[in-house]
């Protein structure tokens, strides 16, 4: 059931209605029922996977919490213990917890790895085998949103393991945290500590809260159906014929895909967060105007924020500070010098994070190379930082608007170019196609009507241009730290509801529906 389908709109209307009509104590159980219904409708077999994740996380976190409690009780009851004895006891308890955590990771990351990566591994093995000895690909079910709910659940288990999170003893509440339907499609990846503050509490209907949620949902639909679903037509044509569409066409495809992906992903997240908001449930923000970033590192702090912070907290830091890494760091300082030794943990952990980020996005080499390209660019800019600082100092450009605009454009272009791996889905081909931007000179295609042959007519370009101006305008207002909805709400009601009605009408009128409309899936759903 796509977010953009009539079925989903009806489903959502029913959820909202029952959520506020039924007694408040029924609110979170109702969401659990509807979340499982949402999953059931997608494919009944998916239920088994999400249940295994939920049950394993539930039982293991109970065990971890029991060990946490027992060990702090033991320490406070045995104050006479010497420092060394205390240390040994704590280490033994930690080792015990670690075994339970490993079991949880084995089950959950195991399911994720087997369902998503079996055929990728088979494909790679097959590239070394002859015709007859090739292994057949497996017909594998990939449960919807498995990467998102697995990461979210594993994050909760690790927090309990670390003693940072109280355990949830109600299995149904945990089940809702794992399966909350709006975020099953494409995240955001919530943290239990934050999400539980509003997910299980009782919410009274508030006109302002509900309409704010609806406004955000509409904004999401506008970006998805009017802009992203329109642009996808041209992008598909442009990347579909790699002989014809070279040079400036690749540049156009790059910009179109950058805008399409932005509207698709942020639109989907707006719908998700808006659904939560309409019911008084706060979900984490996933974007902070990423296309206004001045460098790639900043970009990754503002794009898909919940994934970035998840990787930092649960992969980057643990790898950077683990015993073997500290030993490697010490060894490198001794044998390779301070300069290299200092950098070893950062480089190795970042490599692990970007490799994982790449493969998380898809079981294919193009995604891995995409992840590693990000790693290379971030590391180069990290090393060049002193040089940049000298340049900024010498030419007094820091804080100057034209220079900041240049930095923003540079980052957008660089990110968009790296993302072409996602479009062409073939590493050598991507390098070749991006290379044609510099070897083939055909900028006339932008003005001579060639762009009208990509499945989009003049009217579509007018809608896209208007959409771009609206998205840019809203972003500029947000850049000034102003909530557009708050600003509208403080003005006469006609303006507030007028804006909402306009969004609705624009989405209905200018959505890229066409004959036999079947809106495309959200890009991030496949991850």
């Amino acid at each position: 059931m796509l977010f953009t389908s009539i079925e989903f709109i009806a489903f959502l209307a029913l959820v909202f209605l029952l959520y506020y009509v039924l007694p408040k104590k029924c609110q979170w159980p109702l969401l659990l029922i509807f979340s499982y219904a949402f999953y059931w409708i997608a494919d009944p077999r998916y239920i088994i996977f999400i249940l295994v994740t939920t049950v394993s996380a539930y039982l293991i976190t109970l065990k971890l919490a029991a060990i946490n409690t027992a060990s702090s009780e033991y320490i406070s009851a045995h104050k006479e213990l010497a420092k060394e004895e205390k240390k040994a006891y704590k280490a033994a308890m930690k080792a015990k917890k670690w075994r339970w955590l490993l079991l949880c990771l084995f089950i959950n990351i195991g399911i994720l790895a087997v369902t998503k990566y079996t055929n990728f591994v088979i494909g790679n093995i097959n590239s070394f085998l002859d015709g007859e000895s090739k292994i057949k690909a497996v017909d594998m079910i990939i449960p919807m949103g498995i990467s998102f709910y697995t990461f979210q659940t594993v994050g909760y288990v690790i927090d309990v393991y670390r003693g940072k999170q109280e355990v949830q003893r109600n299995p149904f509440k945990l089940a809702l945290f794992v399966s909350f339907f709006p975020q099953l499609v494409q995240g955001p990846i919530s943290r239990y500590g934050e999400m539980s503050k509003t997910l299980f509490s009782e919410h009274r209907f508030s006109g302002k809260v509900f309409s704010f949620g609806m406004m955000r949902i509409l904004w999401g639909y506008f970006k998805k159906v009017v802009i992203a679903d329109r642009l996808i037509t041209a992008v598909t044509v442009l990347v579909g014929d790699t002989k014809l569409y070279t040079g400036s066409y690749v540049f156009v495809a790059m910009l179109f895909y950058a805008f399409e992906l932005y509207c698709d992903f942020t639109g989907g997240i707006d719908i998700t967060i808006g659904i939560g908001e309409a019911m008084g449930i706060r979900l984490p923000e996933n974007f902070n105007l990423p296309y206004f970033s001045k460098n790639i590192k900043e970009y990754w702090n503002r794009w898909h924020i919940t994934m970035g912070t998840w990787f930092t907290d649960y992969i980057f830091y643990p790898i950077s500070v683990c015993g073997p890494m500290l030993k490697i760091s010490k060894w490198s300082r001794k044998h390779l010098g301070e300069f290299i030794g200092k950098r070893v943990p950062v480089y190795l952990s970042s490599f692990a994070v970007w490799f994982t980020t790449g493969i998380w996005h898809g079981a294919a080499w193009n995604f891995i190379v995409w992840g590693l390209m990000n790693f290379v660019v971030i590391m180069i800019s990290q090393e060049l930082e002193p040089l940049y600082a000298r340049f900024h100092e010498k030419f007094k450009v820091r804080g100057r608007v034209p220079y900041e605009v240049f930095q923003v454009i540079r980052t957008v272009l660089l990110m968009s170019a790296i993302r072409m791996f996602d479009c062409y889905r073939n590493v050598p081909l991507t390098f070749k196609m991006v290379g044609t931007m510099f070897t083939e000179f055909n900028p006339q295609i932008i003005f001579d009507g060639s762009l009208l042959k990509l499945g989009l007519g003049a009217a579509d370009y007018i809608v896209l241009a208007a959409g771009f101006i609206i998205v840019l305008g809203v972003s500029l207002v947000k850049l000034k730290l102003v909530s557009v909805r708050e600003a509208l709400y403080e003005r006469p009601a006609i303006l507030y509801f007028g804006a909402m009605a306009l969004l609705l009408v624009a989405t209905l009128l200018f959505g890229a529906y066409g004959v036999g409309y079947d809106s495309s899936q959200f890009i991030y759903n496949q991850f």
Binding site: K83, Y317, P318, V321, G323, L326, K342, P345, S350
Partner: protein
């Protein structure tokens, strides 16, 4: 505390670490800095800062960081 400030100043010479107590909140130090700091502390104090201690409260100021190091070495 002085040694901690030296480690921090090596990374950001322009910051006044004696007074600043919003190193994380104001994004003065980032995740790369944190990893470098942890590896330096391990090198100089022989203290291992585990991942669960990497929280803003422990890294927001040189004082908080030196208290963390003291607590971990006492444990």
């Amino acid at each position: 505390m002085e040694e901690i400030i030296e480690i921090l100043q090596d990374l950001h010479p322009d910051v006044d670490f004696e007074t600043c107590d919003t190193l994380i909140d104001d994004k003065i130090i980032d995740s790369f800095d944190i990893v470098t700091i942890i590896s330096e502390i391990n090198e100089n104090f022989d203290v291992v800062i585990p991942a669960e201690e990497i929280i803003p409260e422990n890294f927001n100021s040189a004082k908080a960081l030196s208290e963390l190091v003291k607590r971990l070495s006492d444990e």
